[in-house]
Amino acid sequence: MKSERLLFISFALALFPLLNSQLSTAFAQGSLTPPGPPAPTMLTLSQIEPRTPISSVPYTITNSGSYYLASNLNLTVNTNAITIVTNEVTLDLNGFTISTSVFRGGGDGILLNGGNTDITIFNGHITGGNFQYLGSGITYNGASPVTVHVFNVTVTECIANGIYLGTNSSTLVEACALQGINVYGIEAGIIMHSQAQSGNTAIIANYTASDCVGTSVSGEGVLVNGTANNCYGSSYSSIGLNANNANNCYGTSTTADGLNVTTALNCYGYSNSGLAGLYAATANNCFGYNTSPSGYGLYAENVAISCYGNDTASGAVGLYANIANSCDGTSTTYNYHYNMPP
């Protein structure tokens, strides 16, 4: 049995050179002259990286396409760092930072110059340094831009605005964080998962703001023409959160209503002014808290359902509602009521 196997292996080895021409000496050698110049076998640089690097600022994007920062870029002349004057541009900040060292400069980080459309900016940082030498982080000039998406960007220390895109419904800011903004924080049609701290109104959304935090000195913390979802707004001298509709929101203010909305659902408002912790036309399952002796904890212009108003100061009203249903407060005033104590 073993001898048969050895015989088979020997036979196979003997046949192998005949079947493999390269090892065989039984056939003639080919021509040594190459058939032609070697053809490219690798991808071109433009195939590997089909984007345009930006290696210095100021830089103006005049052609549609995809761009990326090649490194941290510092502005040393008094103008805007990157100006986009065309449409269909994707700008990847590539994890790098746009900054400025122009003393009292005021140029913008990224300027959309003239009704741009189809712009995406993402993944990086824009800063005015310790002394707010940058004008705005991302802003526009002239006609409002449309179909703009900004995400994963931080903007800090700007003397003007943070991310300022106008109010078109197709302007979307997502997952951005802003600190030290002198005027307005974020303005866009839709704002999500973002935070801004600014001198004037911090979050300005024309349609919806979701999962946002806005803190302001002299403007609203969060201001939404449509609906605020899961937002927190805080202000010193204005309303903490002001919207048409608010769901699961929280607003605080030192000198005005903490939360002032048309309809409030599962919301909390706090104020220590003579106004209201939470002030709504209709409030459902809400809580209003005021520490002022001359204000309201919760004030429902029309209807309050399952709400509680807290203002324990002497003479203040915990909860007021025109129609109250299943509500309570440290003190209550209402014109009509259901399921309520006398």
Partner: protein, 321 residues
Amino acid sequence: MTMRRVNHFKLATAITGFALAIGTNALAFEGRINAVTTRGSQTDALLYTVGTNFLRVEMTATNSDKSRAGWPNPVDILDRNSGELTLLFSNNRSFVRLKPAAENSSPTPPGFPPMPAGLPPDIGPQTQPPGLPARPIGLPPDIGPTNLPGMPAMPNRPAMPSPPPGLPPGVGPQAQTPNAPGIPAMPQMPAMPMMPPPMMEKVELKATGEKTNLLGFACEKFEIKQRGETMEIWATDQMLPFQNYVRNQPHRFGPRMIEEQWGGLLTAKKLFPLRASLRFDNGSERFRFEVQSVTPQKLTDDDAKLFQPPTNYFEIQPLPF
């Protein structure tokens, strides 16, 4: 017929003359007015500087933050001719110009619709019936939200470094520029429709007929009533149309309380309040405005600077809605 026309002409002339007299009288006042507002334990002192064409209102003292009196409360400058209001924000040395509100039709929202007649006794909102069992003290666990945090700590105010003097390029409103070459005009996107205003009670300024004299000015008593509150106002037509002190760009959403509306009602009637008191129907006062002194005086050229934004302030755009 001719006589009737003559009478109509006389009547119109008399009304016009009366209106002009009132207007002239109101516009003629120039000087300073010191007033105090009180909300609970908070007292703010206001100074009105009245010029021929401009009015400046500022908070000169407050007991809410004595270390930085007035900060960051803005200064209001009203162009008495155009109605444009400029707010100066000291916290970031900016200012915003607000056009007069589209002749706001009326500061009062539409009235709350009455309940339809003929409803069965148990249908619709019920008034407080007597004889219900006594309410236990404390909040029952099933009333109101149950997952709310306790008393929140107020967030720190953001530190706002002082901006450099002078308007740097690119800051503030930018000049309109034509579209960049090659950029096609974008179709107009539909605007966010404004929600209809909530059903709120109509607020009206009603004269009571009572008259008195305050600080040398003939005053008439007016009342504003909203659910649960009454505001009594002694106002004169011998000074100027009132301008309520505005802390911020007026908000657009949600309801507004009386103290945010009374100023507009007085302005519409060219009245200036010498004293106003807003009380809960339970009797306690929740807001008070009182003029403490009126000093008619010709303003100097230096005073004229008070009606312009400081040169080291920069202009910002008003809120979009």
